[in-house]
């Protein structure tokens, strides 16, 4: 009989968990809607910004603009020090969302280690930071509550060190790793090389055919500088808001699965409970019947 009570307790506890995960799913859905809206509005701007930068980089690569020696566009094949910034969530319970980012960072770390390149790891988000601290990987710096509340001013402040170090030649590359939002059910891992600006895949022929207005190089230098800074700033900020949207969608999904699992579990526990109950009744009946039989 104790067995029956045990099962009953189990059913109760599982259905309580189901209620919790169901509520968390609803919360994530509401938060996702807001984050998604923000990310969607910014996406177009981010894309165009990258396009403009890519085109400028391409033109420099194809020598259409002479006399530019902005370090942000110069490739370095033998880096000695690189910056890696990763963005994870502050909270767990969102499936493989954080671990995917961490794995990508680890892969990148390994690659650089094989090339004997020093890496400065800069983290945003509690989960990733905790992981690397636990595994005794050195972090250059870490910010905890930025990924749950993206803020342009704070993200600018954070990225500033990396940009300055890059411009002054202390680091040779800058990567941003984050898990971005693709749609309600999928996240997309981004490993973006922000600096130096990639000029691969640019078709020089396209450029040669278009006309180009010449502006003084001195002016261009300044312009590029301002543009690159904005480009990096915005990419950082966009990574944050995209990651937030992805986090909520991942959590929504994880909680949905958890709720469904709990539902299945309650169902099978109920079957188990009924079987046990039936067995108990049968035993009781047999006892009574055999008692009556023996009295005859």
């Amino acid at each position: 009989m104790a067995n029956l009570k045990d099962i009953q307790r189990q059913i109760k506890s599982v259905s309580n968990t189901q209620k919790t995960t169901g509520a968390m799913k609803l919360v994530s859905t509401a938060k996702l809607r807001r984050a998604e809206e923000l990310a969607k509005r910014s996406r177009l701007y981010a894309q165009k910004m990258n396009q403009v930068i890519a085109e400028i980089a391409g033109r420099i690569e194809c020598n259409k603009i002479g006399g530019i020696e902005n370090c942000c566009f110069q490739k370095n094949d033998n880096p000695t020090m690189v910056d890696i910034i990763f963005v994870t969530a502050d909270k767990g319970l969102c499936g493989g969302f954080n671990i995917q980012t961490i794995k990508a960072v680890n892969k990148l770390l390994k690659e650089y280690k094989e090339q004997n390149v020093k890496v400065r790891l800069r983290g945003i988000g509690k989960k990733g930071v905790e992981f690397f601290k636990y595994n005794e990987v050195e972090l250059f710096d870490a910010v905890i509550d930025l990924s749950s509340k993206p803020d342009k001013a704070r993200s600018d402040e954070f990225i500033k060190t990396s940009v300055e170090d890059f411009k002054e030649g202390r680091t040779e590359a800058l990567h941003i790793v984050y898990n971005g939002y693709k749609n309600m059910i999928t996240q997309e891992l981004h490993v973006n090389k922000i600096l130096p600006i990639d000029t691969d895949g640019f078709d020089c022929d396209d450029v040669q055919h278009s006309s180009m207005l010449d502006v003084e190089a001195e002016n261009e230098e300044k312009m590029l500088d301002a543009l690159v800074t904005r480009y990096v700033d915005y990419n950082m900020y966009y990574a944050l808001i995209d990651s937030l949207a992805a986090e909520h969608s991942a959590r929504m999904q994880a909680m949905d699965t958890a709720t469904n699992n709990a539902k299945d579990m309650v169902k099978s526990l109920k079957v188990k409970f009924n079987k046990a109950r039936q067995a108990a009744i049968t035993t009781e009946l047999i006892e009574i019947i055999s008692g009556v039989e023996s009295m005859k």
Binding site: R41, S42, Y45, S211, V215, N219, L227
Partner: protein, 130 residues
């Protein structure tokens, strides 16, 4: 007359996307106008007013803060940090747009002369709409 494809984007979304006859931009070194078929050019914009002459010859003023413009033969892409278009269907909406634009320019412009220039421009743009 030829038209050019104009896109004005801010981090908060699109402000303008469509055909235009011409556009006047507040460049870092002074105002310049762009017609269809303009040579390729990429330059910075300072805070000021973008005048868009639309297909029906009406002119729309859009106040912008810092930005960058990319011009090529058939299209003009303007990326700005903040923008406030002077538009609206009735007096109240236009007045609201005007207030927003003034607020934006006060936040970004550093000299009172620049603010005054922009203010007078948008006032007259608003007058045209009324």
């Amino acid at each position: 007359m030829d038209t050019l494809k104009l896109e004005i984007l801010t981090p908060n979304g699109e402000i303008f996307n469509g055909e235009a006859l011409s556009v006047v931009l507040p460049g870092e070194e002074g105002e310049f106008g762009v017609l269809a078929g303009h040579a390729s050019l990429t330059t910075l914009l300072t805070s000021g007013v973008v005048d868009v002459e639309k297909k029906d010859k009406s002119v729309e003023a859009i106040v912008i803060s810092w930005g960058v413009v990319q011009v090529d033969e058939e299209k003009v892409i303007i990326l700005v940090e903040g923008a406030a278009p002077i538009r609206g269907n009735n007096e109240a909406e236009i007045a609201q747009a005007l207030d927003d634009a003034k607020k934006l320019i006060k936040d970004v412009a550093d000299s009172s002369a620049a603010i005054a220039v922009v203010s007078s421009k948008i006032e007259s743009a608003a007058q045209r709409l009324l």
